[in-house]
């Protein structure tokens, strides 16, 4: 099983053969996460959580560098709060966990709920309303503004169909919530954080994204404007990777967030919210993993390099392990970006081939083998996850510390270039009509559908008929990119005159 001939892949099925199943198998083989016994909730395993921790650290720095502070608000939201914002209720009432009791009693040997709550509470699906309650007390004067808060938390949306990372009942996220004196400042904040996300996704996740507006019917429930980052996965579907909302005065009115302005008049504030979640881990899998498992951009990898000691006979074990540990120790003193290199020596009592394939499947950027002959020669053998698995790079031991950060940066840059090239290859500008669109998104072989479609760039008229035509095709307008030609053209769906350039795709 573990030692592969060149034709075989570590992951079965391959992407081409069955993409959804390939995704599940990569998540399993890389030990990123697994389904739990609780319907729709996942267990994030150490390697997957390590990736999330790297995302948190990188994003948290950026969120703080733009003047925000972290805080923490209650997990529970009273039903009466949800009722305050009508659109918001519609958006979340259908999928929330409701706490109705506060203890359990044994009855006939079974535990049953007891202690009914006077007012049930829900587990937060998002925190606008509960945070708004605090903000209404914290904001009094224009001097208190802007109020720039972020929260790292778990949230629950009782989804019917779940998929590890991409759509789960419980997920982890950050949710920024800010309050401003006027629309201009609130809109500036909304776009600033969208750009922070986009920069993070490009430079850390090596995941290119389009940024732009969401169409009206795809806005966050209660938002005036929703902006988004949209990424293309390897099955050419779109993943909404992050959103940033200008909420106008809707939530300020619902939560009574008012302030006295410089002229002494009482005004409702303008608020924003913005978030990214553990869904991004799934996005990274679907952007970078291949048929041998995960591939991690170095800036996101919980470990950059693993040292694999090669011990042909027990006599040399001590010498090889000492060399391996010395190497690891030296490398830990080297920095990659702002962080020290994360290096592990894998001295587990397992066969070398098995360990090698485990790390390939986990997607660690670099593997270094050291055996007695390498030690004698003062050399080490380096393998890159972005190159064929048997391609050796022989380096002098003395050069390794200087070379590793350079090679990691090459891998990081190469992964972004490759992801961009893939996306560019599947951008489609030639679709002129509904029939073209339908043909493009209809698999040629219904029994064994291949990966098809892409991101269609076209004109869109925004009318209700066009939206229902899209729904028929199970497509959506993913975003209205900020870059617009300004030219008038024909709506790809209705043929009516249209000015907006949009991106249409199938979506997760």
């Amino acid at each position: 099983m573990e030692t592969k001939s060149p034709e075989k892949t570590a992951i079965t099925p391959t992407r081409q053969h069955d993409y959804p199943e390939w995704y599940q198998q990569v998540v399993r083989a890389a030990e990123l996460a697994e389904n739990s016994v609780v319907r729709g909730c996942m267990v994030i395993r150490p390697w997957g959580y390590g990736i999330w921790e790297r995302m948190q650290r990188e994003l948290d720095q950026r969120i703080k560098a733009t003047g925000h502070e972290n805080a923490y608000f209650p997990l529970f939201i009273p039903l009466s709060f949800l009722e305050k914002e009508a659109t918001h209720v519609d958006g979340f009432a259908k999928e929330c966990a409701v706490v109705t009791h506060h203890r359990l009693e044994l009855k006939d040997g079974k535990l049953i709920p007891a202690g009914a709550l006077e007012e049930p509470v829900i587990v937060r699906p998002t925190s606008e309303t509960i945070i708004g309650e605090s903000f209404s007390r914290w904001v009094n004067s224009y001097r208190d503004l802007p109020l720039l808060i972020n929260q790292w938390a778990n949230v629950v949306r009782w989804e019917m169909r779940t998929r590890l990372f991409l759509r789960t009942t419980e997920f982890l996220w950050q949710e920024g919530h800010t309050v401003h004196a006027n629309e201009a400042e609130a809109r500036e904040e909304t776009l600033k954080m969208l750009n922070v996300y986009s920069e993070f996704m490009h430079n850390v996740l090596a995941m290119p994204v389009f940024i732009g507006d969401k169409p009206v019917h795809e806005r966050f429930p209660g938002a005036v404007d929703t902006y988004c980052c949209e990424a293309m996965m390897q099955d050419r579907k779109a993943l909404q990777a992050g959103t940033s909302h200008y909420l106008g005065q809707n939530f300020a009115k619902a939560s009574n967030i008012k302030f006295t302005d410089e002229a002494g008049a009482l005004q409702f504030a303008h608020t924003t919210s913005w978030g990214v979640s553990t869904r991004l881990v799934g996005g990274v899998v679907m952007t970078h993993a291949d048929d041998d498992g995960m591939r991690l951009p170095p800036r996101l990898a919980p470990q950059h390099l693993v040292v694999l000691p090669v011990i042909p006979n027990p006599d040399v074990a001590g010498r090889v392990l000492e060399f391996a540990n010395g190497l690891a120790s030296d490398l830990r003193g080297v920095r990659f970006g702002d962080e020290p290199l994360a290096v592990r020596v894998d001295s587990r009592d397992k066969r070398g081939g098995e360990k090698n394939w485990e790390w390939i499947k986990k997607g660690i950027p670099l593997r270094v083998e050291v055996g007695p002959r390498d030690i004698d020669r003062g050399e080490v053998v380096l393998y890159r996850r972005d190159r064929p698995h048997k391609e050796k790079i022989v380096l002098a031991r003395a050069d390794l510390a200087a070379r590793v950060p350079q090679i990691l940066q090459e891998i990081q840059d190469g992964m972004l270039v490759a992801a961009k090239a893939f996306r560019d290859q599947h951008m489609i500008d030639s679709v002129q009509s509904y029939e073209d669109l339908k043909a493009l998104f209809t698999p040629k072989n219904r029994d064994k559908p291949e990966i098809h479609g892409g991101f269609v760039r076209a004109k869109w008229s925004e009318d209700p008929q066009s939206v229902s035509l899209l729904e028929d095709l199970k497509l959506s307008v993913r975003c209205i990119p900020f870059e617009q030609s300004g030219r008038i053209g024909k709506c790809v769906l209705t043929g009516k005159p249209a000015t907006r350039d949009v991106i249409i795709a199938k979506a997760y």
Copy 2:
């Protein structure tokens, strides 16, 4: 209100006057947390959350340095899981949030729970059972052991009486969960993590703790042995600051965590769990705060130093702010321990005296004033939170960067020394009988009780009668310290022969 005469205190009432109310007022004045509209749940404000983030960072490093990895498990636990460990059910069934429905419906304009779950789930009060489910699949062979996992999470225990940080319905914590091949290794882990906690509490929180066993009746529900860190608060009551449990094979049997040993036999594993929570923030308040508000040990402070520009007239504003920002920028390049100095310039449009008192109440270790005359002289004026508020330290601007880390370390050390001295002062070795004990813990004036009592070091016989006598006095055996005299003596409660030295106190 804000500019105090020397006799007045920033916090009303003082500790001596009304300790519980003083605590609430410090938490409020320092903007650490506030009660939310959800019964028993708190809002952790940015300054309080910043303290928790510092705790997380310091502890997380220590947890990882001892070989543990972070992971994340579901928020929800099926009722059937709780039923698996009988003692565990008894411990948590009375105070848990029960989710019974998964959506809401509008009926007569009100939202009501809908979509009843087949099996209700509870919000985790602790995660032994749900994590055990994963461990039962992850552990197969002795080669998989030890399994060393930690989780940072929120947990819910539906408490009837709550107090910010010290006892809240929802709180944040870390919970370590480990699996070992035998009792010796599991016990070693349990004690190792207790020592990690103790070292962290001494060196970061400047909070001295006793470590030792809990008596049998105070063990964690389902544990074979519970070890604890106990700290003395300024009202001389005890705070359980952290616990570490050797769970024997109880949870391994409940969750079916088995492994094949080296001889090929199938065995139940031995597990441990250990945790500290946001309760520690309350512990730090009650260890270090004074009648003017919070005092933060520098290693725990979200900000080490605030620069307060003094602007006697608008003409000099530009010059003073430029100097202040330059100073802050220089200081941010200096390290305190492993971290860069966290420095803020408070240029808010508020009166200087008001800002100064805000920072005193927040407990920032150092305040630096810079005005035009200081700039002319090339000097800055430094104030330490651990010294009288008006005590100036005049330093040459050029010396500041070198002096600040030294002074911070002095403050850190001084706070630990002071907390130890306070504790030593209220250790009582002279109690010989139940009557002595009763007298010691009975306030002299019932109408206006003063702070009284302390930590009584005495012999204890462990019999049930002694436990109920303690309960009558609302006291408890806080811990059986590892340091034991070994001598036989008389139980302070029953007069019976007793060998164990214990610490008896009133507790939070």
